[in-house]
């Protein structure tokens, strides 16, 4: 028994497969505030992993990396000036190292201060928390893993609460079609919508694409209210019933000339921005199929006639 005790407790085998985890809430903060004002926001940083962590924090700027929602962190402190960020926690400051035990949660009160002279525009930031890399066990070649997790902040500075918002519809067309569009009656039209934000503040496009046809056919595709950041473009998706996806009609059969009208407002349903396209739906595949069938039948008929003759 004594030998077992010695080997179990004095020479323990290191546990290698330990997980490292981070959680953050809220993942996205949208705030509008006046110059000269200050706000606070409580963040919850959690460690759902199996190891105790040492954390550090930072605030970095971000910008869209593409038109579909990806982001790129930009380590340029000038972009967020003159807004100042700090933690209100008594025992924790922004940039300081702190422990986060396995299974633990740390509440952090972030304070944003906007000077009176701050330009009225948007500031896009990410509150980033990162782990200190830990040494693995043994003297073998290895890669240590490190995790960073961020929560994004969309900050609008405005005296009036109504910052200047403006948009351009960069693209509104049928997928795989740019000019005169002919689609098969049995295909469901899919639309490409790209909107550029030319104003000073981000907005969500609220509106829909209305399809109208000859025979009183009508269908509405609601735009997904995704944030479009100032100075950037975004491809807009739609929400249809309980799913999010491309702006694609549901009607199984279309015939004749159709009008598709894109109509949306910036953070409202004013319908201020409108654009229309037209397309024609013809049962192309059906007609082609019938045509080929007729030709085949005629060939068979001709052949039969020759054989008889």
């Amino acid at each position: 028994m004594f030998i077992i005790f010695v080997f179990l407790f004095l020479f323990p085998k290191p546990v290698k497969a330990q997980s490292l985890g981070l959680g953050i809430y809220p993942p996205l903060l949208e705030v509008t505030l006046m110059p000269g004002k200050t706000i606070t926001q409580v963040y919850k940083l959690s460690n759902p992993g199996e190891v105790d962590l040492m954390m550090t924090s930072s605030i970095v700027s971000f910008e869209p990396s593409d038109e579909i929602g990806g982001i790129k962190l930009v380590a340029d402190a000038e972009r967020l000036k003159p807004i100042s960020f700090a933690f209100l926690n008594a025992d924790l400051g922004l940039g300081q190292t702190f422990p986060l035990p396995a299974g633990g949660i740390q509440e952090i009160v972030l304070i944003l201060k906007v000077p009176e002279t701050a330009p009225e525009k948007d500031y896009y930031a990410t509150l980033l928390f990162q782990t200190a890399p830990m040494k693995g066990y043994g003297n073998l070649s290895a890669s240590q893993t490190q995790a960073k997790i961020g929560g994004n902040l969309l900050i609008t500075v405005s005296r009036t609460g109504k910052p200047f918002k403006k948009a351009i519809v960069e693209e509104f067309r049928l997928f795989n079609c740019s000019r005169i569009c002919l689609i098969d009656s049995f295909s469901q039209p899919q639309f490409v919508v790209r909107v550029k934000n030319t104003g000073h503040s981000y907005f969500k496009p609220l509106g829909s694409i209305i399809l109208q046809g000859w025979f009183q056919q009508e269908e509405a595709l609601d735009l997904l209210p995704q944030n479009i950041l100032s100075g950037f473009s975004r491809e807009i998706q739609c929400q249809i019933d309980d799913r999010v996806g491309p702006c694609q009609g549901k009607t199984k059969f279309l015939i004749g000339a159709f009008n598709a009208k894109l109509e949306f407002g910036l953070d409202d349903f004013s319908g201020e921005y409108q654009q229309e396209i037209r397309f024609i739906a013809i049962p192309i595949k059906l007609v082609l199929g019938l045509f080929i069938l007729v030709i085949i039948l005629r060939l068979i008929k001709t052949r039969l006639g020759l054989d008889k003759g």
Partner: protein, 245 residues
């Protein structure tokens, strides 16, 4: 007569008095309260082991299910059940063991994400440096097979035993489509010059669906040549998980 005048006065007072309004929003110079509620009692009763959040006076709080698959969580307390954004790596260290010339050593890192927002997320990766020994020797980042080279941005095949270096491939949920075949590798973006590269994550355009337990696997591969200096080689791989906007 006096009673009559008094009654008339009361009557006109009632007609002309401002109606009582349930003000939908309350605001000040610094704040606007969007969810006002006239409470009969509130607070955070607590003990040594528990905190209890209580809000009373709400109309029709509760969890409601609908046939089309929607759930409505009505009431202030349901704010606690919103899925936070979490990211887990299943290892703090990836050990390649003793490296053998011409024999690729591989190991995996499991990634798991919970993302409750409809906007999507991304996990990007970079390395602090090439695999480096204490003596200062490097194992270079792989450029994949000569017939189909790779970089930290573009994928390539890595099947030949004479292709050396360090790289990775991805498999699982929400990984970039270039890894779908399972045979394509990339090397790691290097700090500080290279942009971290996405290894996991979708946006609505790409088909993101909110949910928990999204799992992917990164397979790391190291292959050394006969001229590689002996030593213990190490580096740090950093994963950056962020929601979209």
């Amino acid at each position: 007569m006096k009673v009559k005048y008094l009654l008339i006065l009361i009557f006109f007072g009632l007609i002309l008095a401002s109606p009582a309004l349930a003000v939908p929003t309350m605001s000040s110079d610094n704040y606007q309260i969007d969810w006002p509620n006239l409470n009969m009692g509130a607070g955070v009763p607590s003990s040594d082991n528990y905190n209890l959040g209580v809000t009373t006076g709400q109309i029709a709080p509760g969890l409601y299910y609908f046939e089309n698959g929607y759930k409505v969580r009505a009431g202030f307390q349901y704010i606690h059940s919103i899925i936070p954004f979490t990211f887990t790596i299943d290892k703090i260290s990836v050990d390649f063991g003793s490296l053998t010339v011409g024999v690729g050593s591989t190991d995996t890192i499991g990634l798991e994400v919970d993302c409750g927002s409809a906007g999507g997320y991304q996990v990007t990766v970079q390395e602090n440096d090439r695999l480096t020994s204490t003596a200062g020797s490097y194992i270079e980042d792989t450029t994949c097979d000569p017939t189909d080279t790779c970089t930290h941005i573009y994928e390539g095949t890595w099947e030949q035993s004479t292709t050396y270096g360090f790289g990775y491939t991805m498999s699982g949920t929400d990984v970039p489509s270039e890894f779908a075949s399972g045979t394509m590798f990339k090397n790691f973006a290097d700090v500080p010059g290279d942009e971290p590269q996405k290894v996991m994550g979708l946006t609505p355009v790409e088909g993101h669906e909110a949910g928990r337990d999204k799992q992917a696997t990164m397979t790391l591969k190291v292959n050394i040549s006969g001229t590689q200096a002996a030593g213990v080689y190490e580096n740090i791989i950093t994963f950056i998980a962020t929601p979209t906007y």
